[in-house]
């Protein structure tokens, strides 16, 4: 009997559309091709309505914007927590979150799935919360002696109350150029590189539009940016260190990642994720150091299932800094895994296996406790 996998995608996030591409192209299709699973798509609309059904596997529904009519005509999915999870009467064996950004990748959905007590793919709730908060993630890294670039943070409330003070703190601790980022967003949304005080003020204002927490980081000199995809639980395995190549710009932005007609050197295909060098050609032992740092981060943040660790390298100083971690990389970084010898079908199958393994481990922990409190009450 095939297991039923619910694939969650969409969501009230700026990365809603990326999530659709990840779910339909990199999760649902390979899961179905594996012939091992029955897939139930669960789409969360931009308004927060949950829908399920086979029709949601069709990309044309989203491309043609017919989804708006579909959303109006279709009843919200009936979710039942009965010691497990049932959606529209279908008992779910495993959940596969394919959501990026807030509510999907930040631990919210994972909390719900923990409550449902079913195995789910990717990082657990606590790891997701930390990973999706760039400030928290860096603080964990620093406490584990993992190098990070210098940073400060502020909040939307602090900035709105006194913009100059927020900026002064940054200027007193960091040198220009700096990067301003919303603390919880991925896909490079709302990120600005700044070189002056005026630019810094504007950039924090932009970031505060997207998030209530803003991180300001000192730019790394002699920069090489790399990313390291990792999967696994207790014994994580690494794909290939990949070097995104921005086209003369100072960082790998959303446009370059998802909209550019880029391609990959070394065997990758053109399309989403822009240009990159795969595997990255790095001087000296920086390739191995990058793998080491990425694995240290993965473990320090208690990541499980899948993640992609982004690193910044000062080529002259030969220092590899932790930049950020993505608990659910867009497209699952399938192109990189494929180049490392793992097909898309194998990748989703492995991720399901890790989800079940972690759930089994957790199931062995006793969460109940017999007491006489009630009798004494």
């Amino acid at each position: 009997m095939k297991k039923t996998v619910a694939v969650f995608f969409g969501g009230q996030s700026t990365e809603h559309d990326i999530s659709i591409i990840t779910a339909l192209g990199s999760v649902i299709k390979p899961l179905e091709l594996s012939k091992k699973y029955t897939v139930l798509p669960v789409y969360i609309t931009k308004k927060g309505k949950w829908l399920s059904g086979a029709a949601l596997k069709n990309i044309d529904l989203f491309r043609s914007k017919k989804i708006e009519t579909f959303e109006i005509k279709t009843k919200a999915a009936k979710i039942v927590l009965d010691g497990g999870l049932s959606i529209d009467g279908v008992k779910i064996d495993i959940a596969f979150p394919a959501m990026h950004g807030p509510y999907g990748e930040d631990g919210s959905l994972m909390g719900f799935l923990r409550m449902a007590n079913i195995p789910f793919v990717g990082a657990d709730m606590d790891a997701s919360v930390i990973a999706m908060d760039k400030v928290l993630a860096k603080q964990v890294a620093v406490s584990n002696n993992i190098p990070t670039s210098k940073f400060v943070f502020t909040t939307r409330a602090q900035f709105q109350a006194d913009p100059a003070a927020s900026v002064s703190v940054a200027e007193s601790k960091l040198a220009y150029p700096m990067f301003v980022k919303p603390a919880h967003l991925g896909s490079s949304i709302g990120i600005t590189r700044v070189a002056t005080k005026t630019e810094l003020l504007n950039a924090v204002e932009v970031a505060a539009y997207y998030d209530e927490k803003i991180i300001i980081e000192e730019a790394v000199a002699n920069l090489i940016e790399v990313t390291v995809p990792i999967i696994g639980n207790d014994s994580p395995r690494v794909a290939l260190v990949e070097r995104p190549l921005s086209q003369g710009e100072a960082f790998f932005d959303f446009e370059t990642k998802y909209m550019g007609n880029g391609g990959k050197k070394g065997g990758g295909k053109a399309g989403a994720q822009g240009y990159s060098e795969l595997p990255a050609v790095l001087p000296g032992n920086l390739y191995d150091t990058s793998v080491d740092v990425a694995l240290q981060v993965y473990r320090a943040l208690s990541m499980t299932g899948i993640a992609r660790v982004d690193l910044l390298i000062d080529e002259k100083a030969k220092i590899v800094y932790f930049n950020e971690v993505n608990p659910l990389p867009g497209d699952l970084y399938g192109h990189n895994w494929r180049a490392a010898g793992v097909s898309k079908v194998q990748l989703v199958d492995e991720l399901i296996r890790y989800a079940e393994e972690r759930h089994d481990q957790k199931s062995q922990i006793d969460t109940t406790f017999s007491s006489s409190f009630l009798q004494q009450f």
Partner: protein
Amino acid sequence: MLQDTEYRLKAYFEWYHRTSDFTAVMKRRKLTVTRKISLLRYALWTVWLLVILAVMGLVILGALTQSYVLGLIALVMLILLPFILAYGIAVPLFAGWLIIQRPKEKTMIENARRILASHAAVKIAVVGSYGKTTVKEILKTVLSESKKVAATPGNMNTPLGISRFANKLVGNEDVLIVEFGEEKVGDVKMLAELSSPTMAVMTGINESHLASFKTIENTINTIFEIVEYLGDKPVYKNGENQFVKDTAEQDEYLFSRKGVNGWRVTDANTSLESGTQFIAKKGTKVVKASTSLIGLHTVGPSVAAIAIADGLGLSTKDIEAGLAKVVPFDHRMQPRQLHGAWVIDDTYNGNSDGVSAGLNLLRTSTAKRRIYVTPGLVEQGDQTQLVHETIGRQIASSADVAVLMNNSVTNYIVAGLTDAKFKGELIIIDDPLDFYTNLDQFVARGDVVLMQNDWTDNYR
């Protein structure tokens, strides 16, 4: 489906009888509206109209005469209409063949017989159950290096196809290469009498077309009709094929990867990256052969081509240059890269010897995963179960992943896999097109994927 089966009524009716859902039968190809199809359509509409008129007539007559029987007949006719149309289509087809096509073909074949009999070129017949296109293309490419060569195109290997080829000849060709297609006893003799070959290459014999030959002995006898026809003239025979080896005279024309007719092969090697290389020597003559074909089973036909070319007076330099131009043929052991994986397209291969050669190559390939994809073979007659159980056992020792297209022979292959205690992953696919379209999702760098055979819509 008639068009898909090349208007072979037997194959068409077999398909019709086993099909239960007629809503989605066109998967691989769409109907091409030719003159023949248009005429058949008109004929079908006419039959339909006649039946409807008859039904109406019977209903009216039944009402006037108050006869329930007539109404009942009308109802039965309506219910049977789909069957009447399905079977009725054979009538105009047969009539058209009898009145128009047959006389026309007869004239064309007679013309071709005269043209070929009087043509001064060396005429090489290529006969066998499999591998004919490969041998024909190797010969054509090598001999073209210094000769004017014409060969029957594609799989035009029927009397009509060969006649069309003959009618297009200029007359100044040095070499004609004619592929023979055979389906029943006497076919090779008949094609030999049509094309007057002066020599032949016998590629091999196996269970292909066993459904029409009934026994392998019939197949062997039919293929060997060429030996009888040519008498003392040379017939190069594939010594690596068991049926040929067991039946043929052990003469100098028995070719293999070791050599033929005084040519001795050494240093043979093959790889997906660089094709096949070997050295062939005869006396003082040395040919350093290099083709883009893959698999050591291609050495035999290549050295046969060397021997024939040498016999026709080509220099070793020309032979080497010709061999260097030999590339894999479409859908026949044709390798390509896909996301760092090697995909070998052998989907036009539909015979057990090809399967053995392919699986042998897969087994010896350096790969992270060796993936074998097949629907199995068709037209294996009463050997179907045995042939596919054997394939299953061969897969078990050659592949890490077996992908089978779900059809009438799948269980036999699975039985062979089970019998050989296959340890790898077995995937059974219901929709082959969906699999082929999404092949990129299955492969990764380091994989070698061999795809052998592909069933058309009329097989299940």
